[in-house]
């Protein structure tokens, strides 16, 4: 039986990178006595896969991983047992059963994520609301994307699904996952460029709000909604 765990990452835990977080949850599974399944071989490992890695420095209210269970476990009890053994900065929000099919699990189904980016230093322009609207209304948003290996100009507009002004920052819904992926700081960089601001003028802290998959009708649904409570 497959289960999906939704959790929150906040406070000092934002400095724990993806691989370390994975090890942290593996150890938590054992401390909480979750009946998790193992692979075979000389060094068996837990069957566990994370939806989409969160960058170091980011916090989130909508992180997910899937696990394989050897026996059923009541959702409420699983949440309680896990939270009992977690440290401050991580909290399990839900534990649901997901269908056993390959298609419904893992990272491949992730399609989008919501972020809130708030001002960390500096000040937003006075016409924040209007500027935000104009920025998003552009037919294309070209930005230089730098990776360790390459630099290229890309149009990120098709990957931004929603973009709104918030008091003190922005809300955005962007493409996320293995097919298409847009990081919120790249959007912020594009915005800065558009507004004629530098990184010294204004910087942001980003927080992931939710992670989505597409359902049969091509609607974005939070990953936890693809599962059901175990009673």
């Amino acid at each position: 039986m497959k289960a999906r765990v939704k959790f929150r990452k906040f406070g000092v835990m934002k400095f724990i990178g993806h691989l370390d977080l994975l090890r942290y949850f593996q150890k938590a599974m054992r401390r909480a006595d979750i009946p998790i399944a193992f692979s075979g071989g000389y060094s068996p490992h837990m069957i566990m896969s994370f939806a989409h890695p969160l960058g170091v420095g980011l916090t989130s209210d909508g992180e997910y991983f899937d696990i394989e269970l050897t026996e059923a476990l009541n959702s409420r009890e699983a949440v309680a047992r896990l939270n009992e053994v977690l440290v401050e900065g991580t909290e399990v929000l839900s534990f649901v059963q997901i269908p056993d099919t390959k298609k419904s699990a893992g990272m491949t189904i992730v399609a989008a994520a919501d972020y809130r980016c708030l001002v960390k230093s500096g000040e937003l322009p006075e016409n924040h609301q209007e500027l935000t609207g104009r920025f998003f209304d552009q037919p294309e948003i070209i930005i230089l994307k730098q990776t360790k290996r390459s630099e290229q100009m890309i149009d990120i507009k098709p990957m931004i699904y929603r973009f709104q002004a918030l008091p003190g920052g922005f809300f955005m819904e962007v493409a996320t996952g293995s097919a298409q992926n847009l990081k919120p700081d790249l959007v912020m960089k594009a915005f800065r460029q558009y507004a004629g601001l530098s990184e010294d003028d204004i910087s942001f802290t980003c927080h992931r709000l939710e992670t989505y998959a597409r359902d049969g009708e091509d609607n974005l649904v939070p990953l936890e909604k693809l599962g059901s409570e175990i009673v």
Partner: protein, 621 residues
Amino acid sequence: MRKLALSDDILMKIEKPARYIGNEVNSVMKDKNDISIRFAMCFPDVYEIGMSHLGIQILYDMFNRREDTWCERVYAPWTDLDKIMRRDNIPLFALESQEPLKDFDFLGITIQYEMCYTNILQILDLGQIPMAAKDRRENDPIVIGGGPCTYNPEPLADYFDLFYIGEGETVYDQLLDAYKENRHCGGTRNEFLEKAAEIEGIYVPSFYDVTYQEDGTIAAFAANNIHAKEQIKKQMVKDISHTYYPQKPVVPFIKAIQDRVVLEIQRGCIRGCRFCQAGMIYRPTRERDVAVLKDYAYKMVKNTGHEEISLSSLSSSDYSELKELVTFLIEEFAGKGINISLPSLRIDAFSLDVMQRVQDIRKSSLTFAPEAGTQRLRDVINKGLSEEVILQGAEQAFAGGWTKVKLYFMLGLPSETEEDMKGITHLAEAVARQYYEIPKDQRKGKCQITASTSFFVPKPFTPFQWETMHTREEYIAKARLVNQEFREQHNRKSLRYNWHEPDVTVLEGVFARGDRRVGQVLLEAYRLGCLYDAWTEEFDHDKWLQAFDNTGIDIAFYNLRERSVEEILPWDFIDIGVTKKFLIRERENAMNEKVTPNCRTRCAGCGIGMYEGGVCIESKG
């Protein structure tokens, strides 16, 4: 929520910010308003190394059981953060409270190897605590050192207020109680040091004066304070089954070197290898009760969630309940996705059988530590491992499917000849030949025999404490000779040879047997920028040579002479229970190539029997 000592901007800029944020599973948080003693426990190396150390976990647990004490941890900031802290004048802090070290009552530093000494100065310096003990004021923390290097604490004497000689489980309570009482009575820092000096095992270096003869050797070592004892007796836990053991060790977020449940099955070693300091200072050998260990295994797996259990001891095969313990661990845990790792096992039918059950033979290699290349030299060092036993072990291992063997040796041992050095090569060749005796259709391709050598450093409290070392050039010549010999072997394509760089060996030698005067070199090296000397990429040999030059300290005086047995050695004021008479006798046995049987076979009368513990009473009972 806790406020971190470092800003987000700094933490995002440096490597592995998780080293500095605390908050790990099982780390202990207390309300500082409810406690009266704040103790910062430090391992002076980077977090991943320091977090792997069992001793600190034991003391952390022990101190935090006291309601009046909060023990926190601190490790050396890596060079990236080091630079930022200096630039921005950020005081070094403890992980739990994130508060500056300088506000603590105690700073305890475990001293595990000589090459971390510059990091000790770094901790004090970044901690904004005066580096020299004599410059510390009433409100500065009491700086206390412990661990194996404190069996010769003299090179560090200027920088510590106290040293704790021996095992931490015995008199710390007494020391902390004395501190509290002294403060309660309005006593001064010096008055506390005087009280501490009267506690067994506690050494206050400033209460002693050392004078030197014209030839540089020590003329006298004498107390200058009536509270100071003449001899400092090493502390030892008699019953290690019923003492402190951390059943909820701290679990790091980032991968530490030792990322597993560690069961210390025994302390000490019955073998008595003559080069080995641990084998002398941790006498007598004491075993932990197997029922207690089984119980710890359950609890520690449950409390940490670790996926591996490892046994810790100097020589696991000598643990008398090994079969029972290992069988239990495999049956109980191996089926639950938990690996069992078994270091320091002698290769025999039992250990091979066990390893086949818990390891992937294709990936793992078997390790032997003959230490010397010929039987003659192995007799000198009292390493009771014969070529026959090694070849038998290898034969069984090859039959069991292993193809990789590692062999560990030392170069520069007392009385070593060219034949002994070449013997290293010949032993490796013999192991390879053993493999190729298996018919071609039954073996799996080539074997891989790796021989590694390190250079021998004589350590205090061993029968070799009086021996000379060699120059850097001589060490290189020794390694070259071995390397050349390897190239001439028939099976050279299956053999590999690695050797350690000799630069560090020379420094280790100076600090292992140095006196108080070498403390200046250390400070000068630190001033010149030496740090993380145990890390090859950070080690700067030229700066060290410069430091010796600037201070006028002569390496040859410490490394290149044989000491006479009459000479007053810097560490003579410490009584480890093993007598000097025994060490001299063992030295003579070494020169006569005479083997001394292990403690369980026959008591060698080393003197530790006075402590009435472990193997000493086991053999009489």
